[in-house]
């Protein structure tokens, strides 16, 4: 039988933020398509729930707080050799520019910007990324300046879009790096927030496909970028937004 270039068979993939939303869907779908998953998050119970949904054998779960440098470093030490890294963990903030506090910047940048940069750095330093490995950063369409109240979040994600390109440049030709920029995806991240249910429903109608995304609809593109099917794609920023920005 011919091998399937979209398969993740025999690849080991680290997925951060796997206890919820996009990260959980990514872990579940990666396992389905043959990957060995190393999943991480802070919430033990929710990480365990993801773990139980992983098909196949050889998966590992590691609790780590990526808001601390020790947490990141310990995680990098504990993980096995990797063929894929999905920097997905992230938090959100909605505030107009006039209300931004220094603490907001510190909190959001620590998790959304510093953590993925430092995790990538420690994994490289410990030579945990195999030749042929692929790095995927979950940035956001907010990196391109979309939406109001998104200045802190969007800039934290814009830095990651840029960092992904530097990874592509410095790590080529051995390791590839790409970023994904989702529009609104139905996860806990966007629930019960500053916009009312009615505002959100009106916003969904602004998407050409008339709805927000599902977590697995991001996971499928993560799989593509991790797989050999994308072997000639690096330094790319992929927007997935149901046509919102057309």
């Amino acid at each position: 039988m011919l091998s399937n270039p979209f398969s993740l068979e025999s690849k080991t993939v680290l997925i951060t933020g796997a206890s919820s939303g996009i990260g959980r869907a990514t872990a579940i779908e990666c396992a389905k398509i043959g990957a060995h998953c190393v999943i991480t998050g802070r919430n033990q119970e929710r990480l365990q729930q993801t773990f139980e949904q992983l098909e196949g054998q050889g998966h590992v779960q590691i609790i780590a707080d990526l808001a601390s440098q020790e947490g990141i470093q310990t995680l990098a030490e504990q993980v096995p050799q990797l063929d894929g890294l999905v920097n997905n963990a992230g938090i959100n903030l909605m505030k107009p520019i006039g209300f931004i506090k220094g603490d907001d910047l510190e909190k959001i940048y620590t998790t959304n910007t510093f953590a993925p940069i430092l995790l990538t750095k420690f994994l490289l330093k410990k030579k945990k990324l195999n030749a042929g490995a692929s790095i995927v950063f979950i940035s956001s369409s907010a990196a391109m300046g979309s939406g109001i109240g998104n200045a802190v979040y969007g800039t934290s994600k814009a830095a990651i879009m840029s960092f992904s390109k530097y990874c592509a440049r410095e790590l080529a030709p051995k390791i590839r790096s790409n970023s994904i920029h989702p529009g609104m995806v139905e996860t806990e991240l966007i629930q019960g927030r500053e916009f009312s249910d009615a505002d959100m429903e009106a916003d969904r109608q602004k998407y050409l496909l008339k709805r927000y995304g599902k977590p697995e609809e991001i996971a499928y593109s993560v799989i593509f970028l991790l797989s050999d099917a994308s072997a000639w794609i690096t330094g790319h920023a992929l927007v997935i937004d149901g046509g919102r920005r057309v």
Binding site: K95, R193, F195, S196
Partner: protein, 76 residues
């Protein structure tokens, strides 16, 4: 917590609308300048001044400024 002061803070989020028209009974969703950005600013103001985290549904569900004041007051 003072109602008059709350109305004043609320009015400060607007640039075009004359501050004198704001009263506790103002139906703020009907104001021409009202927008989702001003809605976010009201949430930001309440966080900064009263240390209360409002949700979008709290703002949407309030008709008058006093309605919103009562929600904030109940959460202090």
């Amino acid at each position: 917590m003072d109602l008059q002061e709350f109305v004043q803070h609320f009015a400060e989020q607007f640039d075009e609308t004359d501050a004198s028209i704001f009263t506790p009974q103002t139906k703020f969703h009907d104001l021409e300048e009202w927008s989702s950005l001003i809605g976010l600013s009201v949430i930001g103001m309440v966080d900064e001044e009263y240390d209360v985290a409002l949700k979008g549904n709290d703002v949407k569900g309030s008709v008058t400024i006093e309605d919103l004041y009562n929600i904030v007051k109940s959460r202090i």
